[in-house]
């Protein structure tokens, strides 16, 4: 997987350059880094533009995330650049450790590696300062996702799932400053199975292969200048289940919505830490006794 290295290096270079300059966003108003690299909550992108850069500035951020559920592990690293508080470019690398599921599939040590390159544009509003109107900050974004080649390729092909796909989303974020409450809604058009870790689309059994719209919600309550607690709910496309059924797996490939409750803490302007309890529903229930993939999420972000 050499191609993703180039954008990553470019972004890191941009961050280093940006770090030279003073940037002046208010604390935590750039959000944290979501699992797909876009600025937002933990599981979903928000309309905020990542980094500490506000109007007329360029900034950057980089992050590491670890998610551990009952049967799986997910390591993520990535980076983002925010330009003029309007444009955001991001990249993330997800490494999904299938653990016993890989063994059950005859692929011990199977890691699914997904690269996500994202772009986001703020189209209107200021989530923080427009506190006298109900108008939210609105952004549109795109995420190009590609899954590295593994021993699972044949299975995915048989299910009619591709190894790359594009998500498009629109997000609206509003900080009700007088109430210390932040609300975000995102609507995503996607073909991804389990966020892309199990490919994109699933045509086996005559499944239609159109995009579906999945809503995502976040609420965050600001406890102090540098601590926020909140919850998220991300609807998941579940097309792989019927493809799996056609393949004789029953509901063994079903997916369920993802959700979390989180606490985010920014000890300094340049560092934020997020801890969450996640419930990713079932992931390949065929090999995991249909156990809910509950567990923890820990993320650290540096931003300039």
């Amino acid at each position: 997987m050499t191609p993703p290295l180039l954008p990553l290096l470019t972004i890191l270079l941009l961050i280093t350059t940006a770090a030279q300059a003073e940037t002046g966003k208010l604390l935590l108003t750039g959000g944290v880094s979501s699992i797909e690299g876009s600025a937002g909550g933990g599981l979903t992108p928000w309309a905020v533009i990542g980094s500490n850069a506000t109007a007329g500035e360029t900034g950057g951020s980089a992050y590491l995330t670890h998610v551990g559920t009952r049967d799986y592990g997910l390591n993520i690293y990535g980076a983002a650049v925010g330009i003029n508080d309007r444009y955001e470019l991001s990249i993330a690398r997800q490494d999904f450790n299938t653990r016993d599921t890989g063994v059950a599939l005859g692929l011990p040590g199977l890691h699914l590696k997904q690269t996500i390159v994202g772009a986001k544009v703020r189209v209107l509003g200021d989530a923080v300062l427009d506190s006298d109107t109900l108008v939210p900050q609105v952004a549109v974004g795109v995420q190009y996702k590609s899954l590295g080649s593994t021993g699972l390729d044949g299975t995915l092909t048989a299910l009619g799932a591709k190894r790359s796909g594009v998500d498009v989303y629109v997000s609206a974020t509003k900080l009700f400053l007088g109430q210390s409450l932040l609300v975000n809604g995102t609507l995503r058009a996607t073909k991804a199975n389990q966020n892309g870790l199990l490919g994109y689309g699933a045509t086996l059994g005559g499944n239609e292969n159109r995009y579906s719209l999945q809503p995502e919600f976040s609420v965050a309550w600001l406890l102090s200048k540098n601590v926020a607690v909140g919850a998220e709910y991300r609807f998941m496309r579940n097309k792989l289940e019927s493809a799996g059924r056609a393949a004789g797996l029953g509901n063994g490939l079903r997916s369920e919505d993802w959700k979390d409750i989180f606490i985010a803490w920014a000890p300094t302007k340049n560092l934020s830490l997020t801890l969450a309890y996640v419930d990713l529903g079932v992931i390949v229930p065929a090999t995991t006794g249909s156990r809910k993939q509950t567990g923890y999420y820990l993320s650290a972000q540096v931003a300039f």
Binding site: E22, T23, G24, K25, L26, L27, T54, A55, G56, E57, D85, D126, V128, L129, D130, S131, D132, T133, L134, K174, F176, L177, G178, Q179, S180, L181, V183, G185, F217, V219, L222, L223, S224, K225, A231, Y233, F235, D257, K259
Partner: protein, 153 residues
């Protein structure tokens, strides 16, 4: 499915309650004014604020040449009126007061940060701070110089 409904209801509820209580950004029975210690509290807050504004390298240059005493008095009047106190702000409107200044958004944010430091120092609860900031934040439209006219006289 239940969880989903609860989640949606929560989100909708939050939106509605926030919308309905938007009037909360308007002062109610001077509660916010009282939380800020009324006139003496506001005077003390603005004294502290000006010291910090002058000391901060991001905001200092904007306030050094100003008539600091007058700025403080006007800020007290303004916050008093905004928070439901018995004051009428008689100073210049925000737009003309800042027309000749070249103020960036990052500098406006810096000013908010310094005000937060002052409010912390005066022991004003975080939620009350945000209620006041919610009244002040929209002024950014009149205070920040739009990028296209920045640098012009």
């Amino acid at each position: 499915m239940n969880k989903l409904l609860i989640c949606l209801a929560l989100a909708a509820g939050n939106l509605l309650s926030s919308g309905a209580s938007f009037a909360q950004t308007m002062p109610q029975n001077g509660q916010l004014y009282k939380a800020f210690g009324e006139k003496p509290g506001l005077v003390a807050l603005m004294d502290d604020f000006m010291v910090r504004l002058l000391a901060d390298p991001r905001t200092g240059p904007h306030f050094q040449p100003a008539n600091q005493q007058r700025v403080k008095e006007q800020l007290v009047e303004q916050l008093c009126a905004l928070s439901g106190g018995p004051c009428v702000y008689k100073g210049a409107d925000m737009k003309s007061a800042h027309a000749n200044l070249d103020i960036k958004k990052s500098e406006f944010h810096a000013l908010v940060e310094v005000l937060q430091q002052s409010m912390d120092a005066k022991g004003i609860p975080f939620r009350k701070q945000n209620e006041m900031l919610a009244l002040l934040a929209p002024m950014n439209r009149d205070i920040i110089t739009p990028p296209e006219s920045a640098g012009k006289p």
